[in-house]
């Protein structure tokens, strides 16, 4: 079977799910005739018609709210934020309405909110964000953020089949840069399960999305130059977090670095650190360290963006420091 890109894997999942289940439909800005700003939904309109591939007004509240209402009635909407930065417009309805619906009113919201996320693409402050932490903090939502083409497909399918609202963050840097052959058959990746992206025994890097690839680069470098064996955990799901996988790697290497592209303060690294501290402090041989973006709105110029976002060289320095502790 031929290799396909991360972006094509997302589209393949959408097509397969829409064919499998007539209740699945897509809504978003410019997703139909144009095929989406990044062409994730390209070809869906001609395949499924405008009844199931709906071009909407520029209305993130309207789109997310309508998805919730349709979800109540048994549909399985998949809605696109043209850039995930714009999910901030729907923050109220996602956190106050959607996230609470099952708990306060026993109303199901089986829906997927997805969109291109992340930096390293010179997108500037409003086309580069990683706003996942705010939603991970919200009880009632699930959050997934695939790093590989296989997981892009498998998590999209799992998100569509989930009975709760799942936010699927897609990393736009990875859209066309990585490829993989898809596993045969109905490939569904369970939500809430991390993946060991690289086996190791000296230091663990816990990360997700585009920085998985930077962590892997760093791991290769320190193995080559320092003889260190680095384990890389790709979280894949941020809510719920895979506590078992986190604790397993802590017990294995006893030294943990957490890497994310999101800003530092209030980022997920802090939460993971706290969980490790609460549940397996005794297993640590060094303090848990973080490599994250600076607490800065993401600037446009390459020299600025590269400085603010975490780079492979930052991860290498942190791994060496942990190993030497």
């Amino acid at each position: 079977m031929a290799e396909i890109t991360y972006l094509e894997a997302l589209r393949e999942a959408l097509v397969e799910e829409m064919e499998r289940d007539p209740d699945v439909f897509c809504m978003g800005e410019d997703i139909g005739a144009y095929g989406g700003a990044f062409k994730v939904t390209d070809g869906l309109l001609s395949r499924f018609g405008e009844g199931r591939v709906i071009d909407t007004p520029i209305s993130e509240i309207g789109i997310v709210g309508a998805a919730a209402g349709a979800g109540h009635m048994g549909m399985r909407p998949v809605v696109e934020m043209q850039f995930i930065d714009f999910i901030a417009n729907a923050y109220d309805i996602l956190t106050n309405y959607v996230a609470t619906a099952r708990y306060r009113a026993f109303l199901p919201c089986p829906m997927v909110v997805r969109g291109p996320s992340g930096g390293y693409v010179r997108g500037g402050p409003f086309h580069s964000q990683n706003p996942e932490a705010g939603f991970v903090h919200t009880p009632g939502l699930k959050v997934v953020y695939p790093a590989t083409a296989e997981d892009a497909k498998g998590l999209m399918k799992a998100a569509i089949r989930d009975d709760d609202c799942v936010l699927l963050f897609e990393h736009k840097y990875l859209y066309r840069r990585i490829k993989a052959e898809m596993p045969a058959g109905d490939h569904v990746v369970p939500i809430g399960k991390a993946r060991v992206a690289r086996d190791g025994r000296d230091v663990s890097i816990i990360t997700y999305a585009a920085t998985v690839w930077k962590a892997l680069e760093a791991a290769e470098q320190v193995e080559r130059e320092d003889g260190l064996s680095v384990e890389v955990i790709d979280l894949r799901s941020l809510a719920p977090l895979d506590d078992e996988a986190i604790l397993a790697t802590v017990r294995k290497t006893n030294r943990v670095l957490i890497v994310h592209e999101d800003t530092r303060t209030g980022g997920i690294a802090g939460e993971i650190t706290a969980r490790i501290n609460e549940s397996c402090f005794e297993w640590l041989d060094a303090p848990v360290l973080r490599v994250t973006a600076h607490d800065i709105p993401l600037p446009y110029a390459p020299q600025l963006e590269d400085y603010v976002l975490p780079q492979t060289s930052d991860i290498v320095r942190a791994v060496r420091r942990l190993a030497a502790y």
């Binding site: 209305s59 309207g62 709210g65 209402g69 349709a70 309405y97 099952r102 989930d162 709760d164 969980r275």
Partner: protein
């Protein structure tokens, strides 16, 4: 001037109006400048098709709404209502008359002053009372307040406190009706204040573009908390907003239950026939504060009393029932007695309900996993301590090995 009411239908506009009481100077002839929303002549009005029993039924729902709220006031003063209490005194006609225009299969989303619409749709007084008293067997098991609850089977979806959010949600509900080619329509209530929100705009615009079978009722009761409508909008009247969305608008006297029924039924029929969204502005007046604690110090002197004396929807409807339907005092008294017994019985049942169990708080945030586990430091949590949390043997190497095994 703060609190000055923009008149009840007393402006000539290009928008259809359906008024029934002669108080309004606006279009009584049913002729309308908006040809997309023709109001039939008076003898052809939808309410002319209501049976005498149905007209008495409207009175029952309005009276039940008011009596139930009066009972809640008594319970509130006895501190049996846990949170705030929201009244719809003087607005019973707009909630009841509009909901009465729906079929059983249709779905509405009420606002805080639309208790009457929920009762018409099948919510029971026992449910309302349990909900206000935060009982464990309330419709939300003590999780939500007041009339914030729903039941899609009976056709009402509970609101949330951020205003305007139910408009896009109901757009999604009616989008589903359209996609599945179901003969069902939706109705969503917003207040004058919610029309200022982004959610209202995005929801009604999306629904209009998609020609969804949705009726949007703007319940203009003069105040959003303490904010009068002249601080809410520069528009002359809320119904004018329909023009901007490319949909028909209609305005009616919200304190005339038959006029409310007429204007809503016309919009409902239009939605059902594939005509899309209608914006209906119902002119009414909020005689109580935002909630029971609100002393209404911002209301001009005499305003509340004037509305109570001259424009009470139940008083007005009693005149209609007696003079036009030949309702007798005995019939009215029988309905009143039935309402009293329903409210008394419901109060007895609801007061006997137990509060929720604390641990029930942890259940049901997600479909899967079904149960959230208590944090280790919560009292009583030793019954179900999370596997990763180890209050016992804390800080010892051996215990940590056991705990993580």
């Amino acid at each position: 001037m703060a609190g000055k009411r923009k008149g009840v239908g007393n402006r000539e506009s290009g928008i259809a109006t359906a008024t029934g009481n002669g108080r309004s100077k606006s279009r009584e002839d049913g002729k309308t400048a908006d040809s997309r929303f023709p109001i039939p002549d008076s003898h052809q009005r939808p309410s002319a098709g209501l049976t005498r029993d149905q007209k008495l039924d409207l009175y029952y729902w309005m009276r039940l709404t008011r009596s139930l709220e009066e009972r809640l006031v008594a319970l509130y003063r006895q501190t049996k209502v846990v949170g705030g209490l929201f009244r719809s005194l003087g607005q019973e006609a707009d909630a009841v008359g509009s909901a009465y225009a729906l079929e059983r299969r249709d779905i509405l989303s009420p606002l805080i002053r639309n208790l009457g619409s929920m009762l018409v749709k099948g919510a029971t007084p026992v449910e309302i009372l349990r909900q206000y008293m935060a009982k464990g067997d309330s419709p939300t098991r003590g999780r939500e307040l007041n009339i914030h609850f729903g039941d899609t089977d009976r056709g009402f979806i509970g609101q949330i406190s951020p205003l305007g959010d139910m408009v896009p949600v109901m757009a999604g509900v009616t989008l589903t009706f359209k996609m599945r080619k179901q003969d069902r329509i939706g109705l969503v209530y917003v207040g004058d204040g919610a029309t200022s929100t982004g959610a209202f705009h995005e929801g009604i615009n999306f629904a209009a573009v998609q020609r969804l079978p949705l009726v949007v009722i703007v319940e203009n009761n003069g105040y959003a908390y303490s904010t009068p409508i002249d601080k809410q909008t520069a528009a002359t009247q809320f119904v004018d907003k329909a023009i901007g969305y490319g949909i028909p608008g209609a305005q009616a006297d919200g304190n005339d239950v038959l006029a409310v029924y007429d204007v809503t039924k016309t919009a409902v029929d239009r939605a059902r026939a594939g005509g899309g969204v209608t914006l209906v502005e119902l002119m009414t007046y909020r005689r109580k504060g935002h909630a029971e604690h609100d002393n209404q110090s911002y209301v001009p002197a005499g305003e509340i009393e004037r509305w109570a004396a001259e424009n009470d929807p139940i008083d007005r409807y009693l005149v209609v029932l007696r003079e036009q339907c030949g309702a007798t005092d005995d019939e009215i008294q029988a309905i009143d007695a039935r309402v009293v017994s329903v409210v008394d019985e419901a109060t007895d049942i609801a007061e006997r309900s137990a509060p929720p169990e604390a641990l029930d708080a942890l259940v049901g945030v997600y479909a899967d996993p079904p149960v959230e586990r208590p944090l280790w430091f919560r009292e009583g949590s030793d019954r179900a301590v999370d596997a990763h949390e180890r209050p016992e043997g804390w800080g010892t190497w051996q215990a940590s090995r056991q705990g993580s095994a």
